[in-house]
């Protein structure tokens, strides 16, 4: 019983992080219709930015995450202009492989710049935990979760109430109509891409206190992020939150029943099954 409860608590904590990391991917697809296979690499970039903010400026990664957000937002907006915009109207094939090329470039660019070392930060709360009646809540996970919840809430408010957010949603729903009412859809795409990769970088920074950063760290998250966004409905940011929490809890609970080795297998089977049983529902999610 305690074990099950513990697993659910752990699953929710890690799932919150999966949610914020994946919502960026979902945002990019929802607004631009591009599936970004390089997206997980921006998690790595965010982790590196937060690492250097810690190593050089002495900033805690939780604060460094804001720097990561800003830096990667700007970089993403630049990349959108140079690489993504030319292929917006291209067939999915070209989009997929441009982002695959970007993935290789980012991963190996990091290797060239920073070397292959594994880097990690030291913080005071790293090994702290709360004990609540037999349930253990580890502090770095809790902090990462809280940061994700706050940023998720801000994103939701931004998309719903701000002028830019509303314009972005309009661009997603009908780019032609958005243009007619005077929205600069090009600019919206740029903001969406920057924000999408920025959020993922932010997510990478907040998990740095309990993980290590190295050039290939992103590859651990590629399939995971896609599972999250597909479970929640590709393109839906709210769906990514549901999907993130679901994946976190499924991972934690499946570890109780199955060997850890099969953790990903369970995830993939759920993923394929959802698409098999509810393809219409998910396809509907995509058009929204």
């Amino acid at each position: 019983m305690t074990q099950g409860l513990q697993a659910i608590v752990d699953g929710i904590l890690i799932g919150g992080v999966y949610a914020i990391v994946s919502s960026g991917l979902s945002l990019v697809f929802g607004i631009m219709g591009v599936v970004n296979f390089a997206h997980a690499e921006f998690l790595m970039v965010g982790m590196f930015v937060a690492y250097f903010a810690w190593a050089i400026l002495g900033l805690d990664p939780l604060i460094g995450s804001l720097i990561a957000l800003v830096v990667v937002f700007l970089a993403g907006a630049g990349l959108q202009r140079t690489l993504i915009r030319p292929i917006l109207k291209a067939p999915p094939v070209a989009q997929i492989f441009l982002t695959v090329g970007l993935m290789f470039t980012l991963e190996n660019g990091a290797l060239l710049l920073f070397g292959a070392d594994y880097r990690s930060v030291v913080t005071s709360y790293q090994t702290e935990s709360l004990h609540l009646g037999g349930i253990i809540v580890s502090m770095p996970y809790l902090f990462a979760f809280l940061m994700s919840v706050i940023s998720g809430g801000l994103l939701w408010a931004f998309m719903r109430y701000s002028r830019t957010g509303r314009a972005m949603r309009a661009t997603a729903q009908d780019p032609m109509a958005a243009k007619l009412v005077g929205i600069n859809t090009d600019r919206m795409h740029q903001i969406a891409f920057g924000l999408g990769v920025g959020l993922t970088a932010f997510g990478g920074a907040v998990i740095l206190p309990y993980l290590t950063v190295y050039p290939t760290v992103g590859s651990q998250y590629v399939v995971l992020m896609f599972t999250v966004v597909v479970l929640g409905g590709l393109g839906s940011v709210a769906g990514a939150v549901v999907g993130g929490l679901a994946v976190g809890v499924i991972q934690a609970l499946s570890a109780l029943v199955f060997p850890m080795q099969l953790q990903n297998l369970v995830l993939f089977v759920v993923f394929i099954a959802v698409l098999a049983l509810r393809p219409s529902g998910l396809l509907k999610g995509a058009s929204a």
């Binding site: 050039p215 896609f226 597909v230 297998l265 698409l275 098999a276 998910l282």
Partner: protein
């Protein structure tokens, strides 16, 4: 056929008077391809790279049936590839079955896997299809990794050493593998061309243009896609056996690799020109030597530089000519002709 007609449309009299010229060209290229190994070290590096190029061209051609003709971008063909490699190797290791028979068994299993996979995927399009197939490849990898008693698990599996026997499909030198790969490429290309120009090809094209309209005029879209998927999977599995016999050793991460197999197969077809008969061949002769040259020239200098350059070139190709190299060559050819006619 399609090539000759498209060249004919270009309106050069010299070409129109020679309608069989593409056939002659192909025959000449094949003859050359058959003679090349005789001038090379039978165990050498150049021959090995050429063999891998032909093998990957054949793999990309199999992918082209699904990814090009049926317009479904699979990122999980490593799943079928690995089924072929594992089936023949396990049968050989445990029962001493000839890899040729093991190849047939592997093709059967891959067909079965493709049929099962078609149930959740047949209605999916574009990115969704890509993602499910990506997950399929990963599922196969995890199974091979965990099912150690049969597959050998993460330690990998070695092909028992029994060189120089046609029946056991094993040779001490690279040369026979070169010819096997060349024959495989020709066979897969013929299958591709027959499908493309045959009834199935027309049906697939109709579905590609407008799926709803295709349904209305009575095309069984599920059946057409399933057929393309089955043929592609079965051919990929057969090539998996060739690969296993050529490399003698493989492990789950290699054979079910997302970047090293699944993405590469698709990449080669796309770089060359998707859904064109000669696309994968041009792509393979560009990509595989490029990987080799960049590795040879750059890897000693800075870690990661060669892979970085590889990624940057990929981006450049897609930005400059998303339709692939063949289209790029076509443009250049046209421009040259214009210049010369002036």
């Amino acid at each position: 056929m399609s090539l000759s007609s498209s060249l004919g449309n270009a309106g050069t009299p010299s070409l129109r008077t020679l309608p069989c010229r593409p056939v002659l060209l192909i025959a000449a290229a094949l003859g050359m391809a058959g003679l090349v190994p005789l001038g090379l070290d039978p165990q050498g590096y150049t021959l090995r790279v050429l063999t891998l190029t032909l093998l990957f061209a054949a793999m990309a051609q199999s992918w082209n049936i699904v990814g090009g003709l049926a317009n479904q971008i699979s990122l999980g063909h490593a799943g079928f590839f690995g089924i072929g490699a594992y089936t023949s190797t396990i049968l050989l290791r445990d029962l001493g079955v000839s890899p040729w028979l093991g190849m047939i068994a592997g093709m059967g299993l891959a067909g079965l896997a493709a049929a099962i996979l078609s149930v959740p995927t047949f209605r999916l399009k574009g990115h969704y299809f890509a993602l499910v197939t990506l997950a399929f490849g990963e599922v196969m990898r995890v199974i091979a990794n965990s099912w150690s008693s049969v597959t050998g698990g993460p330690v990998g599996i070695s092909v028992p050493f029994a060189p120089n026997s046609l029946w056991m499909f094993q040779y001490n030198t690279v040369r026979p593998y070169y010819y096997v790969s060349l024959i495989a490429l020709v066979l897969v290309s013929v299958v591709f061309w027959r499908i493309k120009t045959g009834a199935l090809g027309y049906r697939l094209r109709a579905i590609k243009e407008n799926p709803d309209a295709a349904e209305v005029i009575g095309i069984d879209t599920y059946r057409a896609k399933l057929m393309a998927g089955l043929v592609s999977a079965v051919l990929t599995a057969a090539l998996g056996t060739v690969y296993a016999q050529f490399s003698y050793f493989f492990d789950p991460d290699t054979i079910f690799g997302v970047a090293s197999i699944s993405v590469r197969m698709a990449l080669i077809a796309i770089v060359g020109g998707v859904s064109l008969t000669f696309g994968p061949i041009v792509g393979a002769f560009f990509i595989i030597p490029l990987e080799e040259i960049s590795n040879a020239a750059l890897a000693g200098r800075a870690a990661g530089l060669s892979a970085f350059v590889y990624g940057a070139l990929l981006i450049a190709i897609i930005l400059v000519k998303p339709q692939g190299l063949l289209a790029l060559f076509g443009d250049l050819y046209k421009r040259l002709r214009k210049e010369s006619s002036r």
